[in-house]
């Protein structure tokens, strides 16, 4: 075991890790940040997506030691400073973009990264960019609407087409 240090949600943190400790295990078990979920073991489902130095990554497919010293952001760091829901989070609630909630942290993190790169995505771009996040509950309809709404577009009109 080695002590691995990084910045998570703006705070410098450290926890013990082995070479094989995945970033997601470091977050969940080392830091108790259980909002990041594990839904598969083949890097497909995206429930574990977090931001590392501003980029969306699958935390189940990164070793904690490989991102030592990085800036990590998780779902626990996405609300506004006053504790209210952030823009993406609020759009997901407004448009019923979640049901069981398990894939939701990954969806929110992927969406936030998408909108940072592409502030006004088309429906097709949203669907393409969500390719690595699997949801079994929603049929994606309301997730895509929520992403479009979070980008400030008229999601209702776009979905009715």
């Amino acid at each position: 075991m080695t002590k691995v240090t990084m910045t998570v949600n703006g705070k410098s943190v450290s926890a013990e890790a082995e070479g094989r400790t995945l970033l997601v295990s470091y977050l969940r078990e080392g830091l108790g940040l259980t909002g990041t979920h594990v839904g598969c073991d083949t890097s497909q489902c995206g429930a574990c997506v977090v931001h590392v130095d501003g980029k969306a990554v699958k935390s189940c497919t990164v070793f904690a030691m490989d991102v030592a010293g990085s800036e990590v952001r998780t779902i626990e760091g996405m609300a506004n400073a006053d504790g209210s829901l952030g823009v993406v989070q609020q759009a997901f609630q407004d448009h019923h973009g979640l049901q069981c909630g398990f894939c939701t942290p990954g969806m929110v993190m992927t969406t936030a990264a998408l909108l940072a790169n592409n502030p006004k995505p088309s429906e097709a771009e949203v669907r393409h960019e969500l390719e690595g996040n699997i949801c079994r509950c929603t049929g994606y309809h309301n997730i895509v609407k929520a992403v479009l709404a979070a980008s400030g577009q008229d999601a209702g009109a776009m979905a009715a087409e």
């Binding site: 082995e18 094989r20 969940r28 078990e29 940040l33 259980t34 909002g35 990041t36 979920h37 594990v38 839904g39 598969c40 073991d41 083949t42 497909q44 489902c45 429930a47 998780t74 779902i75 626990e76 996405m78 609300a79 829901l85 989070q89 997901f92 609630q93 407004d94 019923h96 979640l98 049901q99 069981c100 909630g101 398990f102 894939c103 939701t104 942290p105 929110v108 097709a124 949203v126 669907r127 393409h128 969500l130 390719e131 996040n133 699997i134 949801c135 079994r136 509950c137 929603t138 049929g139 994606y140 309809h141 309301n142 997730i143 895509v144 609407k145 776009m158 979905a159 009715a160 087409e161």
Partner: protein, 792 residues
């Protein structure tokens, strides 16, 4: 302005806030002091005799605390099937024991025969690998193909079951001769052989369980990913481990989707309890996705021959089916009900068809157990009917919309007794069909088809008119049919002294939004803010009883129990109010949160009554107990019968065979709707899964029983770019006639009605595109299959 609270409002979900901020608490999120980690050791062969397990190979490994094998559970009970089915000859089904850990034989890849408990997950995992290597299993030939299994008596999944058949069921057997005669006399007979593809439910949260034992009291606690904790408690206590029911608490906290797969009790739950007792420490287990693929109950997996007799004008005269249903290696809890009473009883569909006979042979194979998955039996029935009706239209050159209109039951025919034993209480199937035709712009299809053709794509349209029976279920009826439990539900409504309310419900929310919807109903009925109402679910220690959430039953059954309990609260409130207002009880009315004396301005608010019940200073103590808390058990009088019409449009790429679902329209009749936003979300999700079944999802075992589609690398889950926006409508409402809320249930509809609409659309596209030899393609209509069919 649409209302934003109460019944019928699209109230935003309160549970979302915790899920959106990472504060949900799923089973694996819990961390207990002193916890140890269990890893299951699973068979890598489909069928074999366990020769030896050398536990000494791991006992001294770092961190290893205990090793369990089938030997440790050979003297406790097995995990039972919940429904007894008799064969056509009257003999009861064969019920092999399903042990906690495989003993003697392993019967499918992933069958757990041992478990290692260690200080850390990594240590347990390391040791499990070593134990797997230190196990000798004599491999036997795998039994994978259902028909071959039933034909070959020499190779047996269970040594005591000679033909691998669990039962051979006829429904309704007494009608068989009449159906045969009607089929023989029919001017035209359509025959279709089809497969309803095996699916892996794939709730995004893998199964997980944590066992605790408290030596001071002898109490156990199980925290687990369950859709119905009370049933899990019952099965563990009464059937598997013999723990007194009052000594086991089962908690299902936030659960990340179920779709049927988390209804059932699984061996890991008993294992963590036994291990917790032996070690005196909490023991946790969480499935890896690979384990979910191998050991969760799968769904569907029927091979069916369906025949339909009709007139040349398209009047359906008779339907006859023969189905082989794969039950896998063991009987999961609902596995015998799914292909029978949830399937055969629906085989008349929404049509006035006089003669129906269904035969189902359920077969054991060396594959994972198969059980109910979203829709459970009803999607299989709907797919068979709607595909064969579509084929009839093509063979006779009839319009599929007109043929449906000709055969659909009409509103004046309700209540309607089907030839397969159900009584449909109400419906208006023409209305939903008309609504779907309007919303899908059927009239504009030709123009869209021409536009697709310009882009080199074949466009087709497919229709499905479907019905289901849900709101499971009237106990007296299912009892006659072989169910070993009642299927009522329960609720306690506790009015606290300060007027806030806790509702303990037997339903379990794992995505359905009960925490939001149930308070909407309470608030509407009691005239108080929904924010004053809290829903408590998923804990046997807090809730009187319940049968959980599946079969679109939460509102129809548990919601009805809650409604009845609220009525009892109001009735008691009237007694209290009569005393306080010095009026006759019969003169008290309750509306808008106030108990009033009719015809006067004398009134007490709901809060005042609640306070009085708990501070009974001015209270009729001689005739009325203090307190304001009521429990109701509700047993439905009938199933509920949601129905609807779905229209799908697809484009087919001739060069690659790829099918794109480009439009999907649903017109549903769910009866009364409590929260339209949530109802629509349920339909979206069901349709997404239905499109997945129709186009993408295939569960494939090779001849050795190895699962070829054991991860998301090979099992094609629908992704955001596989589906379009859906058009959904639920305005054609005929309220259920027999439950107090008039609700029918909406959870399974999408998954039931959509697969045939998709496949019908694909056949339509190919036929219109000149591939007239293609009359059927089995699901999933993968690019490879569609291309092969076009080029056959």
């Amino acid at each position: 302005m649409p209302k934003d609270t109460g019944i019928g409002a699209s109230t935003k979900r309160r549970e979302d806030v915790r899920f959106l901020t990472g504060k949900g608490v799923y089973t694996d999120d819990l961390s207990l002091f002193g916890q140890a980690h269990a890893v299951m050791v699973r068979s890598t062969v489909a069928h074999g005799r366990i020769v030896s397990i050398d536990t000494s190979a791991v006992e001294a490994m770092p961190g290893v605390l205990a090793v369990f094998t089938g030997e440790d559970f050979k003297d406790v009970g097995g995990n039972p099937a919940g429904w007894l089915i008799n064969s056509r000859d009257g003999t009861p089904m064969r019920e092999p024991k399903r042990p906690v850990l495989a003993h003697g034989k392993v019967r499918h890849v992933g069958d757990a025969y041992a478990a290692v408990i260690a200080e850390s997950y990594a240590q347990a995992k390391d040791a499990a690998q070593v134990l797997s290597d230190a196990t000798e299993i004599e491999e036997l030939p795998a039994i994978v193909d259902m028909k071959a299994a039933a034909a070959d008596a020499s190779n047996r999944v269970h040594d005591e079951i000679p033909d691998n058949i669990c039962f051979d069921w006829g429904w309704i057997e007494d009608n068989r001769a009449a159906v045969d005669a009607a089929m023989k006399a029919a001017p035209h007979v359509v025959t279709l052989e089809l497969t309803n593809n095996r699916l892996v439910p794939n709730a995004m949260e893998p199964r997980a369980s944590i066992g605790e034992y408290f030596p001071g009291t002898g109490d156990y606690k199980l925290t687990t990913t369950s859709q119905n904790p009370h049933l899990t408690r019952l099965l563990i206590c009464a059937f598997v481990m013999g723990i007194p029911e009052n000594k086991l608490q089962v908690v299902a906290p936030d659960v990340g989707g179920g779709f049927g797969s988390k209804i059932y009790h699984y061996g890991e739950e008993a294992l963590v309890l036994a291990a917790a007792k032996r070690l005196g420490r909490p023991v946790r287990w969480t499935a890896e996705r690979t384990e979910s693929f191998l050991s969760d109950a799968h769904g569907r997996d029927h091979v069916t021959k369906i025949e339909l007799g009709c007139t040349k004008e398209g009047d359906i005269l008779a339907i006859r089916t023969e189905t082989y249903a794969n039950v896998g290696a063991y009987l999961s809890n609902f596995s015998t009900a799914t292909p029978t009473f949830l399937h055969g009883t629906l085989m008349a569909g929404p049509y006035k068809v006089p003669h129906v006979y269904v035969n189902v042979k359920t077969v054991f194979t060396n594959t994972a157990p198969v059980d109910a998955y979203r829709g459970a039996g009803r999607p299989e029935a709907t797919y068979s009917i709607e595909r064969v009706v579509d084929k009839m239209c093509r063979e006779l050159g009839l319009d599929p919309f007109e043929v449906r209109r000709r055969n659909l039951l009409t509103p004046d025919q309700f209540p309607y007794t089907t030839p397969v034993g159900l009584v449909y209480d109400t419906g208006n199937y023409q209305a939903t069909l008309d609504k779907a035709v309007e919303l899908a712009d059927v009239a504009g299809f030709e123009a869209r088809r021409a536009e697709s053709a310009k882009r080199g794509r074949l466009r087709g349209m497919g229709l499905s008119t479907w019905i289901e029976a849900c709101g499971i279920a009237p106990s007296h009826l299912v009892g006659i049919l072989g169910a070993r439990v009642g299927l009522y539900d329960a609720a306690t409504v506790r009015v606290n002294a300060t007027g806030t309310i806790s509702v303990m419900t037997g339903a379990h929310s794992h995505g359905q939004g009960h925490e939001t919807v149930f308070p909407q109903i309470v608030a509407e009925k009691l005239g108080i803010p929904a924010s004053s109402v809290e829903i408590v679910h998923g804990d046997t220690a807090k809730i009187p009883f319940g049968m959980g959430s599946y079969g679109s039953r939460s509102l129809a059954v548990a919601g009805s129990a809650m409604d009845r309990a609220i009525d009892k609260i109001i009735a008691k409130g009237k007694k209290i109010a009569a005393h306080m207002l010095e009026a006759a009880e019969g003169d008290i009315t309750f509306a808008d949160g106030k108990f009033s004396v009719a015809g006067t301005d004398k009134a007490k608010t709901f809060g005042e009554i609640a306070f009085s019940a708990y501070v009974p200073h001015n209270y009729p103590l001689e005739t009325l107990e203090p307190g304001l808390e009521e429990t109701a058990f509700y047993d439905p009088a009938n199933f509920t019968y949601p129905a609807g019409a779905y229209i799908c449009e697809v484009e087919v790429d001739e060069g690659t065979g790829k099918v794109d679902v480009v439009a999907f329209t649903c017109a549903d009749d769910f009866g009364n709707v409590m929260n339209p936003m949530i109802v629509e979300g349920q339909v979206h999700g069901g349709v997404g899964q239905g499109i997945g079944q129709a186009v993408l999802e295939s569960t494939s075992y090779d001849e050795n029983g190895q699962l070829l589609t054991g991860s998301y690398m090979d099992y094609a889950m629908p992704r955001a770019d596989d589906v379009p926006f859906y058009t959904v409508d639920h305005s054609c409402s005929t309220p259920c006639t027999h439950n107090p809320l008039g609700v029918k249930g909406c959870g399974e509809a999408g998954a039931i009605g959509s697969p045939p609409a998709v496949v019908n659309a694909v056949i339509d596209a190919l036929q219109r595109g000149g591939h007239s030899h293609v009359t059927h393609i089995d699901m999933p209509v993968s690019p490879n299959r569609v291309w092969q069919a076009m080029n056959a």
